[in-house]
Amino acid sequence: MSNTDENKLPHGEPEIDELTNDRYLGGHEYDGIRELDNKLPAWWLYLFYITIIFALVYLVGYHLAEWWPLQDDEYNNELAAAAVVEKKAPVEAFDFESMAPMVAEADLAAGKETYDKICVTCHGKAGEGLVGPNFTDMYWIHGDSTNNKISIKEMYNVVINGVIEKGMISYKDQLSPVQIQQVLSFIITLQGTNPPNAKAPQGRKYDTFG
């Protein structure tokens, strides 16, 4: 049944499919599967052409005519645009010498936000200490040893400089001075909270903040 000769349709006339009125191809029969002699759909062909044109324009535009930036330039443009925006951001007033713990609700809330974003990984959710030391006791490692007060300025220097040999990085590029002041003020409020799993004291005991 399948070996009807190729180009001769039965009686020289094309056989027509009753349901669609399309022409069958003679000799195209494989295990009962037949094939119709339809042309490529025009919309399909145009779609194909359009994608080919797209491809050519794309290659020319990026690589020959250089109409559009490639990734390194794109990145530099993005940075430049961001720099413009950032410059517009107001610079907050900050004076190191007169720095003291803040008490305003909003500052402490901002401080907690920074804490939860950054410090929590090493110092624990409740300041109980993990890889880094415990913030809820009065023992501090980086204080002035001649005096019984631990000052927020001493804590500030730790955040600015980092303690890289112990694994704490410097945050001077990530946090603004005010943000550091806020997070330190928040940490000070954790004093005496006695969280579970508190880490053993490290450093020297101080009496008060000052």
């Binding site: 119709l36 890289i164 694994g167 410097s170």
Partner: protein
């Protein structure tokens, strides 16, 4: 003409069909497990071989090579005998193919769970299995071509064109991507490194999709769709054009997996434009499938087989439109590394491959067992469950992908990331991961229903192992005849057809791969980039073994949102000693490429890493990373160090002459230093444990080009 009698071998079809069902169930069940692990990390069970990083490759390999692979061979052996009116040329080849393929699958499952992996997606299997695959594949193809020479039908049908393309291309891809040098019985390093490895890997990876998940299934579609609908194929001319266009164009598109990454711009652009040009050729297949149903749509309403086929072909059309869209740079900037890709994958996988297989199985079994399907109702139920499952699987993942991208990229007015903490995003997409579990489970249950239905059908029927048929012998005709047309001529010359198909796929492959052999000159060398120390090398192998690349990338793209989050973007020259590359394709966790840079916001001390590996949830309660506590128990395999160094030297990594003999001294010294540092932090772990090597590797990541700043900081 005298009729010859012969038999169609249904037994091989039945065996492959059973294997398809079995591995399909296994693969989907494992899929559900990994989906659960992403929500409930306790389902990693705290055993090395049940952690996500090892189980996910089992899912992908089981589904692709076992479920889809056996599905291909089921339909292939059924159709090719009938399309060529002959039995298979070689019985032993046929059955060796079956048993060889099943043993590859079993070996794959065991070795992957045991942690023997190359660390390259979809090509994870190690060198002895690679060799076995090559042998079995050649047996399959040889048998196919030989059978064609013994055929009783003058021309080869379009389904067979696709089988031929599958055979030759998969062989080329598999061999090309698996060139590796062993350093032990089960482990090797690939000859390619960094950028070159990435280009070869995705040349392979994309075309594994194209020539394993797509072309053979188009072949199946061309046979089973017209058979099941009892309608003619819409257009022979379209078959020709879309077949050649598809196989020629597909092979070029691999670099769309590497957009905005450290590969040359020209390669990326080729990936994009060839993907766009694939829309029409792909849709040619969809059109020829759907329009074949013209005049039979009333049947579609009743016949579950046709329903499965219609959804399969539609899903094919959808993913071959979505794929090219994902290849556009600005869309890929959003989608890459997110769950969007996973959504795309599963529209293709669940819809196209899954549904076509299901339809084919429902069609085949009643015929081979000369009976009726046990329950059309259950098959319909399966259809609706599967369709719903796809929606529950994919919609949440698109939503998740979109959420991830927008959260990762959002800046506030002060120019800071709004969500600097990776976990903030992970927490946000948990509900979507949950819905995916539901979708996946539904899909799995549907498949169970099918197995039940088939088992009942088998019980009720009687199997015809050898189906008798007859046809006249083929009268050989030589050269091209007047008015025959070149393609029609080619269709009766299968060997020539195969050679042309090889040429078509080699062109794109060569254009893309040859320059990568010369790529050393394409990559700006960076003098401060040095080979890994022996301890770091061992740590890197642990990273690969545990499959960390399944969740973490090592590729920072040049976007402000990424450099702000992770640090300086990746440079091609940084990866020249990475055999294999470990850039990853999905960020379930954060990028790690600048993890070791002490000025980066992600830097963490050794002690943090130690605690984190032991129990990530202790460090971050909402983390979904598995625990790796055994790393503190297992020792580093230092006996392997000399062999590893020697293989690296062969591959051109500039360790000094004779370094293999003294490498372990350096290894021990570095390990002791790390262990001593941990001790100071109150952590007691011996210096010969695996966790030490892994920490050394992590702390090395991305540091080479920032060395100068680091020394400044260390003062």
């Amino acid at each position: 003409m005298e009729l010859q009698k012969f038999y169609y071998d249904n037994k091989i079809v039945k065996m492959f069909a059973y294997a398809t069902l079995f591995w399909g169930i296994v693969g989907m069940l494992v899929g559900v497990l990994v989906a659960i692990q992403l929500v409930y990390p306790s389902f990693n069970f705290n055993f090395a071989f049940t952690t996500f990083g090892r189980v996910r490759p089992v899912h992908t390999n089981a589904i692709i090579f076992a479920f889809v692979g056996n599905g291909i061979f089921t339909g292939y052996y059924y159709s090719i005998q009938r399309l060529l009116k002959t039995s298979m040329a070689s019985k032993w080849m046929t059955y060796t193919h079956f048993w060889g393929w099943q043993s590859i699958i079993v070996l794959a499952a065991v070795t992957l769970l045991a942690g023997y992996t190359t660390g390259k997606e979809y090509a994870e299997l190690e060198w002895p299995i690679d060799i076995l695959i090559a042998i079995i594949w050649v047996i399959f193809g040889w048998n196919m071509m030989w059978t064609m020479l013994k055929r009783r039908v003058k021309h080869i049908y379009v389904a067979i064109w696709f089988y031929i393309a599958t055979f030759v291309t998969v062989a080329v891809l598999h061999i090309g991507n698996s060139i590796e040098i062993p350093w032990s019985f089960l482990k090797s390093y690939p000859v390619y490194a960094g950028v070159q490895d990435a280009l070869v890997q995705w040349w392979y990876g994309h075309n594994a999709v194209a020539f394993f998940l797509t072309t053979p299934y188009l072949g199946l579609m061309y046979y089973f769709m017209p058979k099941a609908a009892n309608r003619p194929v819409y257009s022979y001319k379209l078959s020709i054009v879309h077949f050649w266009a598809l196989i020629f164009l597909y092979i070029w598109a691999g670099p769309h997996h590497l957009l905005y990454q450290s590969v040359p711009n020209w390669a990326q652009s080729l990936g994009t434009v060839f993907s766009i040009m694939l829309i029409a050729p792909s849709w040619g297949g969809m059109i020829n499938g759907l329009l074949t149903l013209r005049g039979a749509w009333d049947k579609v309403r009743e016949d579950p087989v046709l329903k499965f086929f219609v959804v399969a072909v539609t899903a094919y059309g959808m993913s071959t439109f979505e794929g090219p869209m994902l290849s556009l740079k600005n869309i890929n900037a959003i989608s890459h590394f997110t769950n969007w890709t996973v959504g795309h994958v599963h529209i293709g996988a669940l819809g196209w491959n899954g549904f076509l297989t299901f339809g084919m199985v429902y069609w085949l079994f009643p015929r081979m067992f000369s009976t009726k399907l046990y329950s059309v109702k259950l098959a319909n139920l399966h259809f609706w469950m599967g369709t719903l499952a796809m929606l529950f699987y994919s919609i949440p993942l698109y939503w998740a992908g979109w959420t991830e991208a927008s959260m990762f990229k959002q800046f506030n007015d002060a120019g800071e990331l709004v969500y600097p903490n990776f976990l903030q995003v992970v927490e946000q997409i948990m509900p979507m991961y949950m819905m995916r579990i539901f979708g996946g489970t539904l899909y799995f249950l549907g498949a169970i229903l099918m197995v039940y239905n088939i088992a009942k059908t088998v019980k009720a029927g009687s199997f015809v192992a050898m189906e008798a048929a007859e046809a006249p012998a083929l009268v050989k005709e030589g050269s091209m005849k007047e008015g025959e047309g070149f393609h029609r001529f080619l269709e009766r010359k299968p060997i020539r057809f195969m050679i042309l198909a090889i040429i078509a796929i080699l062109i794109g492959g060569l254009v893309e791969v040859v320059p990568t052999y010369l790529i050393k000159s394409n990559i700006p060398t960076i003098s401060s980039v040095k080979p890994y120390t022996p301890l770091e090398l061992q740590g890197r192998d642990i990273y690969i073994k545990e499959g960390c690349y399944n969740c973490h990338s090592q590729m920072i793209r040049p976007f402000r949102s990424e450099t702000e989050r992770y640090g300086e973007y990746s440079k091609a020259g940084e990866y020249v000693y990475d055999h294999p590359f470990q850039w990853g394709s999905k960020r379930t966790g954060p990028d790690l490429w600048r993890e070791g840079v002490k000025t980066s916001r992600n830097y963490k001390p050794d002690a943090w890493h130690y605690n984190h590996f032991m129990d990530p949830q202790k460090m971050n309660a909402t983390s979904i990373m598995p625990k790796y506590s055994w790393l503190a128990d297992y020792e580093i395999d230092i006996n392997s160090t000399p062999a590893k160094i020697r293989v690296m030297q062969t591959l051109g990594v500039p360790y000094p002459e004779g370094y293999d003999k003294i490498a372990n001294d350096d290894l021990k010294a570095q390990a002791e230093k790390i262990a001593a540092g941990l001790k100071e932090q109150g952590i007691n772990v011996e210096s010969n444990k695996q966790v030490i090597a892994l920490i050394a590797y992590i702390q090395r990541l991305g540091t080479d080009i920032t060395n100068s700043t680091e020394t400044a900081d260390n003062k």
